[in-house]
């Protein structure tokens, strides 16, 4: 059903999709390596759950796979600085959403998530940034099917 305010995205994988505004996030500085891509839609579908697709509004060929890191690594404790919270105007802890970007591989066992560069989203105003944690516990490649390592 089409609603007012839906935003149309074109993506090579999904074709044209109508995205409700509450699924759009804005990265004012883009992502490292993709600094010009600022608007993304985060979508769930039954086949992909618990993974999400994050589709670029600016580049129909650009898509990332995300996961809620706490689902796979319940002990994950990214240290988010006050400046990071402030930069997204996050006032309440409940407004802070964290996702990890997943790197796919031909072998499912080799699929990894980036726990040292999580995405931080302010759920209240849908602005986001990718953090770069200075934390030896986390790297850019944690195997998703070996949760914890």
């Amino acid at each position: 059903m089409s609603q007012d305010g839906e935003i149309r995205f074109t993506n090579v994988r999904f074709g044209e999709v109508a995205v409700p505004p509450d699924r759009i996030v804005t990265f004012p500085n883009g992502l490292p390596g993709f600094e010009r891509c600022r608007e993304f839609a985060i979508l769930e579908d039954e086949e992909s759950a618990p993974f999400y697709w994050m589709l670029s509004a600016e580049n129909p060929r650009l898509a990332f796979v995300l996961i809620d890191p706490f689902l796979v690594w319940p002990d994950y404790t990214p240290r988010i600085s006050r400046d990071d919270l402030k930069s997204l105007s996050i006032a309440k802890q409940e407004d802070a959403l964290v996702y990890a970007i997943v790197t796919l591989s031909r072998e499912v066992k080799e699929v990894t998530a980036n726990l040292s560069g999580p995405l931080l989203i302010n759920a209240a105003n849908r602005t986001a940034k990718q953090l770069a944690l200075l934390d030896d516990r986390y790297t850019t490649k944690h195997r998703v099917l070996h949760g914890g390592s």
């Binding site: 390596g33 086949e47 796919l104 499912v108 770069a132 099917l145």
Partner: protein
């Protein structure tokens, strides 16, 4: 690249609101103090590059679908 020489305690200003100050020099190590508004991200170069490289790898989703992966994760042993 713009190259500037600075002494201990001196600083450079970038734009209207970023100031980088040389705080300390010890052998090959230099301590820098950075004053920037919260919306300006400051990263160590190598950390930024690592995230950038991983993002580029992660963007190579190609034609892969998530069915198999999703199933594998849902049925994994705790």
């Amino acid at each position: 690249m713009l190259v500037l020489t600075r002494k201990l305690g001196e600083s450079i200003v970038i734009g209207n609101n970023v100031r980088i100050t040389v705080l300390d020099l010890q052998g090959k190590q230099i301590r820098l103090g950075i004053d920037a508004p919260p919306e300006v991200s400051v990263h160590r170069g190598e950390v930024y590059e690592r995230i950038e490289a991983e993002n580029r790898a992660a963007a190579q989703v190609g034609e892969r679908d998530l069915k198999q992966l999703s199933r594998a994760l849902k049925t994994r042993k705790p």
